[in-house]
Amino acid sequence: MALDLFVEDEAPPYAEEADNPDILKIDIDGWEGPLDVLLMLARNQKVDLRQISIVELVGQYLEFINEARDLKLELAADYLVMAAWLTYLKSALLLPKDPEADPSPEELALRLQLRLERLNAMRESGARLMARDRIGRDIFLRGNPEGLRTIKKRAWTCGYFDLITAYGQVKARTQPALHVVKKRQVMTLEEALERVSAMIGRAIEWTDIKAFLPLGADAALRKSALASSFLATLELAKQGAIELKQDESFAPLMVRKRA
């Protein structure tokens, strides 16, 4: 159904067409669905919608549909669905009561009447709304307002935490790299002297100097300990406390207490 959003004439089709069956029959496009047609027909009964005769209304609607068909107007499906439903409703209303029917035909009829009332109320309210004194048509605002000016001023914000975090990050990012020599585990000569002196008492036989090194020490510490212990044995040999021997170059260095 073609529907212009803005139309030239605000007057709804039922206003004049209601009195002119020819236009009514032909101008099916002027109607917005079956409920719209039903409301127009109901208003034609010229009674309060609350006192409308549903049976009569159904008859009028079916007549309307038949006339449209006679004129070979293409009717949208919803008009025909409504016609079928109304036919059923009319017969149910006229036939002896079926107590099993749920909803009852009376309830269906009442629902239809309530819907028509509601649509009618909104239609009338819309008309009253449109008829009000409206800005730009009946009432005017100032034609040439100077306008109020807003001068935007920027206000900067920054949180304290953001400030100090930023400084921390600057420092962390740009501090000159400090190269610190790692503290290594070493055995000093003093430690080695003490250690070898203490242990030599038990070594009556020739003993590999490596036996004097601390057990379980890592390679770096063992190296340091070996160097210190070697120096310590030399010192002890010089003092006459021990004897040293090495069978050949790079052979194990043997140590024993001097008898």
Binding site: I54, E106, A109, Q113, L119, A121, S125, D133, D138
Partner: protein, 211 residues
């Protein structure tokens, strides 16, 4: 002869006069300054302009000057009204205004026909309606309501001034049909018929249904 007028009054008057838009009390305060009774000035101005060619009116929360309604015949500009709302748009606007907030399906239930694409757009483009949220039902449909511009355009102080809204409410015509039936049912079950609105009739002609 120069009469000394109240400075606040003058300032409020000037701000409203210069503004291109209706202004709220808070907006006026933004121009006029802090510690003055703007509401009192508005009331005083409203009294002063009462009956003149210009009047000061409140629409929703906003205030503006406009020409007096009874002078419309002198000032009416026919050419301004070239685009009239279609019947579908008028009805839809009316349904939104009287029922807001309301979903598209609810509008369609009242009109008995689908809203053609664009009808709601036209109302939104006019600045009279807008979506205000979603109904918390399956599908979460958008719900629509009217805007402050709607009140301004139609000269309504608030939605309570919608023509006939009290009568429609009292007659239950703003309640959905289903609600009316639910109430009837409840009324029947409780055998309590004190509320004549909820009276059900089994008469075929439904002649005596009270509304």
């Amino acid at each position: 002869m120069m009469i000394e007028h109240d400075p606040t009054l003058r300032a409020v008057e000037a701000a409203l006069f210069a503004s291109q838009e209706p202004l709220t009390v808070e907006q006026i305060r933004g121009y006029v300054g802090g510690d003055v009774d703007i509401r009192a000035a508005l009331v005083s101005l409203q009294e002063h302009y009462d009956g003149r060619g210009i009047e000061l009116v409140q629409r929703g929360k906003s205030w503006h000057f406009q020409t007096a309604a009874d002078l419309a015949h002198l000032l009416r500009r026919e050419k301004e009204e070239t685009r009239k709302l279609s019947r579908a748009a008028v009805e839809t606007l009316s349904i939104i205004a009287y029922h807001e907030p309301v979903s598209r399906a609810e509008i369609e239930a009242i009109r008995g026909v689908q809203i053609s694409k664009g009808t709601l757009d036209v109302l939104m483009e006019a600045g009279w309606t807008r979506p205000t949220g979603r109904r918390e039902v399956p599908g979460r449909p958008l719900i629509y309501a009217t805007t402050p511009e709607f009140l301004t355009h139609f000269g309504l102080e608030s939605r309570r001034d919608l023509p006939g809204i009290d009568d429609l409410k009292a007659a239950g015509l703003l309640d959905p049909v289903d609600t009316v039936f639910d109430e009837m049912q409840t009324g029947e079950e409780e055998a309590d018929d004190s509320d004549s609105d909820a009276e059900i009739t089994n008469e075929v002609e439904i002649n005596d249904t009270e509304a």
